[in-house]
Amino acid sequence: MIRDFHKIVSNLYVLFNDGDNDVLYSGTNEYGNRILGAIVGEDDDNNSLRYIHFMVSDEQYFGFINRKISLRAILDKNESVFIVDKTHSGREISANLMPTEEIPS
């Protein structure tokens, strides 16, 4: 696993925010790859948020933005995704790689 591959270090752009939490966002990792982040859960007991981070091509990204391709379709082209747990202030708690097939529909 390449160190910090999942981590967005520049060009952070929030596509959707629900008023409290970022729901969907994109950005660039330190290797210049476009990363998409999407919320997958909120842990009220541990006061944390869970996101998936995964790499997208420009074609996939703009296809998604223009509603020509679904998030699930992009996910299914990735063998694995990063599960990233964050505090509500955005500080990363942990990041782990997970096979995409284990993500429920």
Partner: protein, 144 residues
């Protein structure tokens, strides 16, 4: 009603122009079908170390994010929530339709480009979530 908790740690006048409203119905996103104390925790309470730069941001995080519901706009508001959350797999929140009891707090209209019905709710110091009436719960993951 007093709002020392809202103003704790800031000089921003967050409740300026905010009003009581015990008759309107509001929608709040929750993670369970029922209302719990955690549903009424503001971002500020959940993230005491969050970095904010101006009063607009601070007051937004001091308040709770809601949407006002009226019979003629109910379906539109529901669609705003439904379009937002099913983007992510596994995340299946709910929209609880609520009404605030007397002396629970103040509400301020804070429309956004994506949600013109958005309000911020500022809890008073004596707020308890049992003062909020749950009218109905809508799953945001159905019919999509």
């Amino acid at each position: 009603m007093t709002f020392e908790n809202v103003h704790n740690g800031t000089n921003c006048h967050c409740i300026e122009d905010a009003q009581s409203d015990n008759s309107s119905e509001f929608g709040i996103k929750t993670n369970k079908k029922i209302l719990r104390e955690v549903d009424f925790k503001s971002k500020w309470e959940k993230a005491p170390d969050i970095e904010l730069s101006n009063c607009e941001e601070i007051c937004s995080k001091k308040g709770l994010s809601l949407s006002i519901l009226a019979p003629e706009t109910f379906d539109r508001v529901k669609e705003i929530y439904k379009q937002l959350f099913p983007i992510s797999p596994t995340y299946k929140p709910f929209l609880c339709v609520i009404k605030f009891g007397n002396d629970t707090g103040l509400l301020k209209s804070t429309p956004t480009p994506s949600n013109p019905f958005h309000f911020d709710f500022y809890k008073c110091d004596t707020f308890v979530h049992t003062q909020v009436e749950l009218i109905k719960t809508i799953s945001l993951s159905e019919d999509v």
